[in-house]
Structure formats: structure tokens, C-alpha cells
């Protein structure tokens, strides 16, 4: 099993798309390494014959009728946009 010592807060914060200050990175490194060490107790458990549970209540293939219904208008959907124009969300430039 992976070890708590492998955890690298600076790298994972990049994966999570959250900039951190150096001070936050150092603090999270220590605090989350402590949490991961605490969780190493999960290694004791024999799970070789157990199926992973995605839910407490197993449910499969939930279907309903494919029936259209009223939903938000374009104006309503855009009502909280931080930046919009011409009934569209304006996004930060993606291609150079």
C-alpha cells in the first residue's frame, strides 16, 4: 500500500487546480500526512473477498421515462455568470 510519506501537497494542489501559498503548502503537507498516517490502520483489514461499495444502499440501472419538461431559460441559466455576452458564458482564452 502507498505510504503517507509519498504525499506531496504542492504537486496534488496543482492537480486540484488550487494555488497555495508556501506557508499553506507546508501546513497542509504536515496536517494531511498526519491524516494519512492515522488512516494507515485500514491496511490491517482483510478485504481480499470484499466487493467495493459505492453506496450504502446498492442500486442499479435506475430508469425513468424520457419525457421532456420545462427547465431554466437561457437567461435564468446565465443569471449567475461572472462574465457573459450575447446569451453566452464568456470564458478565459483557452487557445493561443
Amino acid at each position: 500500500m502507498a505510504k503517507a510519506a509519498d504525499f506531496d501537497a504542492a504537486y496534488v494542489s496543482k492537480l486540484a487546480r488550487i494555488n497555495l501559498t508556501d506557508e499553506e503548502t507546508a501546513r497542509f503537507q504536515k496536517q494531511l500526512t498526519d491524516v494519512l498516517k492515522y488512516a494507515e490502520k485500514l491496511r490491517e483489514v482483510d478485504v481480499s473477498h470484499v466487493e467495493a461499495a459505492a453506496h450504502g444502499v446498492p442500486m442499479f440501472n435506475v430508469f425513468r421515462e424520457d419525457k421532456p419538461c420545462d427547465w431554466l431559460s437561457a437567461d435564468e441559466a446565465l443569471s449567475n455568470a461572472p462574465h457573459k455576452a450575447n446569451q453566452l458564458f464568456v470564458v478565459t482564452k483557452v487557445v493561443e
Binding site: L32, V35, V45, A52, A53, G56, V57, N80, T92
Partner: protein, 488 residues
Amino acid sequence: MSRSDLPALTIADLQSLLRRKEVSPREVLESLRARIEQVEPKIEAYLSIDFEAALKEADKVDVNLPLGGVPIAIKDIINVAGQPCTCGSKILAGYRSPYDATVINNLRAAGAIPFGKTNMDEFAMGSSTENSSIKVTKNPWDLSRVPGGSSGGSAAAVAANAAFGALGTDTGGSIRQPASLSGLVGLKPSYGRVSRFGVIAFASSLDQVGPLTKTTRDAAMIMSAIAGQDRHDSTSLPEPVPDYTKNLGRDLKGIKLGVPKEYRVEGIHPQISAAVNAAVKQLESLGAEMVHLSLPHTDYGIAVYYFIATAEASANLARFDGVRYGYRAKDPKDLLDHYGRTREEGFGEEVKRRIILGTYVLSSGYYDAYYVRAQKVRELIRQDFVKAFEKCDAIISPTSPEPAFKLGERTANPLAMYLADIFTNTANLAGICGISVPCGFAKENGSQLPIGLQILGKSLNEARILQIAHAYEQSTDWHRARSPIAKL
């Protein structure tokens, strides 16, 4: 009764006055407004209130509906059309909900009036409500202490008689623990019993909406209104919704209550152990039979919970990217800068910490070791409860290992804060239902601090745990005690 006494009423008593036309829904709202103006500066439970919109609803509501004319406070993670919904986060400052969550539709259909949004730990991540980025809510029993969390605003409002009842959400204990610390009844429904549509997701396989109230009857009334299948939530269960008030008043003869040996852990506050032991004796005197049993994987609950909850949160909170709603960082130089700074500036510390932990346990090379292993141990925890409920009708424990702690006491140590959930979060992992009901007081430095008894039931057995909680409640006076702020 004078109008200023109305906010002290239970929902059931308020409703009889409304039906007998002794008060009007408008008078009820006006009395609540005056009450909130009086106590809110002390407790800081609310993030936003819209009495004008509520008064319009009050003037046309049918008081003969199940909750006709009853104002209900709503945790600020649940969308109410036209109202702000911040989740206690700066990243949602200025956001207004374009639609009603299904639980709000259901409350309105039952005649209830959502009038205000309550404070919470940011995105429901916390056990004290101190992680709100907006304000710090105080416990009405002792203003130097936390109300519990994450539904701490809902708990403080009801405990201060500044709400008749409230909705909260419970992902690892966030209804039951604040109910316990604030001297209230708090019910976490079985997973799938209440729709999550329109509730901003924290951990989708664990989240449920439920009531915080002064009595078990009030909790049953709200549950009857909000429960049920919803075409907008494929995890909501199709089983018919009973009238949850129907079993109230039945005795406990023949009821078997499980006492798990794993719940006798070190570190439980001695006055809490004493209160829960006394409650067990009281339940026996009411006819219940105690069964000693074992939930062998209990000790792994916190570790499993913090991997699964943070993994799901890291995926759910990816939607806060500053594109379609919420905060966006100023003048980003490129897309990575846009995401990185939007989320740096918008999220608070605990949310960042949990997203990073969740991202890590889902990342390549660690997914099987952490996330999949946690899901497998989750299945063992679920099976523990399935086996336990073959021997008993419900399981008894403290709700929280300690009474309300001092503001600021835990904020520096996240792991210590996580351990506050030891008795509550296995119920979320297993998808079962649980309720906290007042069972005494701890005395500390001259303060009376409420203690909660937790009663866990198998999936869809809300009526049974409400029956047990009600029988206990009616045989004691704990639920009649009111906080010092409620007496102002």
C-alpha cells in the same frame, strides 16, 4: 398567549393555533421577525432572510395543510428560488438560486414557508460551523462555545427560539451532532429517503437532508413532508412515505435495542457516558430490552469516511471553476491561472485541505490503495449493521463524545475535529437512518451543555427510531429545557 411568546412554541402547537385561527400566518412571521431581531446579534445564525417574500406566501397559505403557515429555516446549502445560496463560502458570494430544491418544493406543497438561510461550515465541511467564511455562529446555551456543525446555524436558530424548525444536511453527522450540542432533535434520514436535487453536493453517496426541531413530533412532521422519490434524483428510493407521526405514542414493549461494545471507547466525556447509561436504564424501564452486540469495523469509520467524503468532494467541487457561476479571479493570464486563483481566492482553508486530500486518494497510483480499499472497508461497515439489525430494532450510543467545545479550541488541529464524528459517520457510510434526542446536561464552568442520545435504525426505518425517540422524550423533561438565549 402574547404574540411575543409564539416563537417558543413547537411546530405541532403552533399549527393548532393556526388551524383554530387564533393567530394568522402573518402574525406568526411578524413575531418571529421580532424574535430574530432580538437574538440574532448574539447568536449570528442566519446568512440571509427574506421576510417580504415570506409574508406574501403567508397571506395565501392554507393553514389546513400538514405544515400550513409554519416558517422553516433552511441551511444555506439548499437552493430556494430567488434567494442567495452561499454554502458559507466566498466562492458563492452574490449567487442567487434560479430554482427550488425538491425538498423546498415539498415543504411548500405542505404549506411551510422557507423564510431564511442559516449559517454552516463552508460546503458542510466541519463539526463546529467555524469554517463558515461569513460569520461565527454561537451556541445559545453558552455563547463562548460552538453550536456544532456543519448545520450549526440551523441548530442555533431553533435552540434560540429564532426558528420553529429547520432543515440541515448530514454527510457524517452534520444534523445529529449540532442537534446534540444545542439540545435539539435532529434526524438523518436513510440514504435515498429524501431527494438531494437542488442541494449543493458535498459527498454524493453520503449526503441527506433532514430536520432539526424542538421535539420528535416536529421532526416527524417535517420528515413526512420532505421524504419521497424524485424523478430528478435517481438515488431517491421508490418506497411509499408513511405518516411518520403515526407510530408516536406507541410503547416500547418487545423493542430490542443494541448496545455495541465498540462504542464504549476511551475519551468519552464522563458526564456523557453517565447520561447515556441513565438513558439506557430509562428505555429499559419503558419496556425495551437491551442486546449487547458488536460492530467490529467501527474503529475504521473515520478513516474510511475521510477518504470517501473527500474523494467525492474533490469531484463535486470541481464545478466551482469561475465559469458559469460564483467568484472568478480578476484578469487571469491564462486558463490555469484562472482556475488556480479562482479556487485559491474563493475557497476557505478546510475546503482546500479536503479537496487536496480527495484529489490525492483518487490520483493515479493511489486510487486502489486508498479509495478502493476505503470502499471495501465501507462494505464491511455496512455488513456490520446488517448483521446487528438481525438482533435488534435500533442501536443506542452517544451522538457526540463530548459536549459543545469552546470557539477556536479545535481549529488548528483538523484530525481532532474529524474525530468528533466517531459515533455518527458510520451511519452515513452504511446508508442507515439515525436520530439525536436530548438526554441530559454536562455541567462545565457554570454552563449547562446539552447531551444527545443517538438512536440508529436500519434503512427506511425512520418511523421506528422516531417511535423510540418519542417514547424516551415523553418520559423525560430534557426536551422542555430551553437555552438561556431562548429565555430572553
